[in-house]
Amino acid sequence: MLEFRNVSYSVGDKEILKNVNLTLDDRFIAITGPNGSGKSTVAKLIAGIIKPTEGRIFMNGEDITDMSITERARAGISFAFQQPVRFKGIKVKDLISLAAGKSATISEACSYLSEVGLCAKDYVNREVDGSLSGGELKRIEIAMINARGTRISVFDEPEAGIDLWSFNNLIEVFEKMHERTNGMIIIISHQERILNIADKIVVLANGGVADYGNKNDVFPKLMDVRSGCYYTRKS
């Protein structure tokens, strides 16, 4: 369980999140909202990449606000970047091994890669550098989260850069991941099909929580074709 208590986050004079109170405790949670609503900020706050200006964050009742990125990772939080990082000289297999916390055998690395639709033998020894496309990097990023197998996994727009035909695959990946870790998967997304597999949806707008509830209640309000998104209209 993750809990935000009165969390605010500002950069200079700009308030990005304002007094957010949120308890996340489901299988699949989707966080959505217009650009600039603070979605990625929430993800980075969970991973510890940024610290709240005010308020506290709790994981299973424990205050993790002052824990470093490393401590949170070791406590069981994984984070897939929206824009995966490139490394010169570091190979796909190395990253999978680091993620798994042990030297991954070729067959282990292969199983994580095939799950995200990459032919493992073509990739294990490739460098995670500029020679990989954005979509390939994105899949490797997801494979790393899979290899970690932690209780909380946060994905920042995992679908960006992944072609449509492999979309179903992506959803399967999340489902299998949940089966294996029995944990919580938080996905930041605009994608209708991802929102559709969520148990709950958080809608952020203007730095606050505009709505939070079961998918069946929130989803129709987001997808109103005639009048547009209920939440952005309201704001």
Binding site: I69, A73, F79, V85, G89, I90, L98
Partner: protein, 306 residues
């Protein structure tokens, strides 16, 4: 017999546990320790100055030659000349390298002048590793010089590595490249403490369709200093590329001085240089996998210099 220190140096620079099989020349503490010619590779000691002449018969394929140098006596200084004559149509690997163990207070120095004459259609891979160690205050100094002549359609790849323990190095490589020939240089350097490393490359692309890639990847730590100088001259229709990619840490400094000179209008020359500290997002990514900042840094540096 070599002692344990010497054996360790040999393993570091040449990956060998003892005197190698096949053609080799092993130099220990300023003297020729042993040499062996093979059917196709002849090694002869020079009579006028220290060093060896190596003749590789035309058509020699898939053979290798080891020429490591070991210095374990503090304060020894030597200058060695090695000439390599590589015959037409050869495909060979040359493993060189120098390891210094300096347990004393005096400066130990090895400077090798290597000249390569690569005949038509030959392919050569040259691997050189420099390594220093020692618990004394004496400095380990290596100043290698290489001269390369590539004849038509030949190809040479030079891989040079200096990762540890060399206090001061000044490397100079000059090359002349003929028609359809290619020279590839891959240099990897890590300096720490107060070490300095200067590497200088000068490649003349003289023949039509000649080419070169001179690539340096380096990490400078503590208060060390590195300077990378590369000059590529395009005298014909040719392609040349030089790249310096350096990570700086602590108070280290790196300067890159590329110069490309197109004499011929059909010369296509590129230089790239990037110097900077480790990208913050790389550290963050590895920290989200559970590594500490220090572990992340090591992982990034090791990968970069692999």
């Amino acid at each position: 017999m070599m002692d344990n220190v010497q054996k360790r140096l040999l393993e570091e620079v040449a990956g060998l546990h003892d005197v190698p099989q096949g053609a080799y020349s092993l130099r220990v503490n300023g003297e020729l320790y042993g040499k062996n010619s093979s059917e196709n590779i002849e090694i002869a000691a020079k009579s006028d100055k220290p060093g060896i002449d190596i003749y590789i018969k035309a058509g020699t394929k898939n053979e290798s030659l080891h020429i490591p140098v070991i210095l374990s006596q503090s304060g020894l200084k030597e200058l060695v000349y090695n000439d390599f004559h590589i015959g037409e149509d050869c495909d060979v690997t040359i493993v060189a390298g120098c390891g210094i163990h300096n347990g004393g207070n005096e400066t130990s120095e090895h400077s090798g002048v290597h000249s390569f004459f690569v005949a038509k259609n030959a392919r050569v891979k040259y691997i050189e590793k420099h390594y220093g160690q020692g618990d004394g205050n004496g400095k380990n100094v290596m100043n290698p010089e290489s001269y390369v002549e590539l004849d038509e359609n030949s190809y040479m790849e030079m891989e040079t590595v200096q990762i540890k323990g060399v206090d001061s190095t000044n490397r100079k490589t000059t090359a002349k490249v003929s028609k359809n020939a290619t020279l590839i240089v891959q240099e990897k350097i890590m300096t720490h403490g107060s070490q300095t490393a200067i590497t200088e490359f000068e490649v003349e692309l003289n023949g039509e369709n000649s080419g070169t890639h001179v690539v340096s990847r380096s990490v400078a730590r503590d208060s060390s200093h590195q300077k990378f100088i590369s000059r590529i001259k395009g005298n014909n229709r040719c392609s040349g590329h030089t790249e310096c990619d350096a990570i700086i840490m602590d108070d280290a400094t790196v300067s890159a001085v590329p110069e490309i000179l197109a004499i011929n209008p059909d010369a296509s020359l590129i230089h790239e240089a990037a110097i900077g500290k480790i990208a913050g997002e790389q550290l963050i990514k590895l920290m989200t996998l559970g590594l500490t900042e220090k572990e992340a840094e090591e992982e990034i540096v090791n990968g970069f210099l692999r």
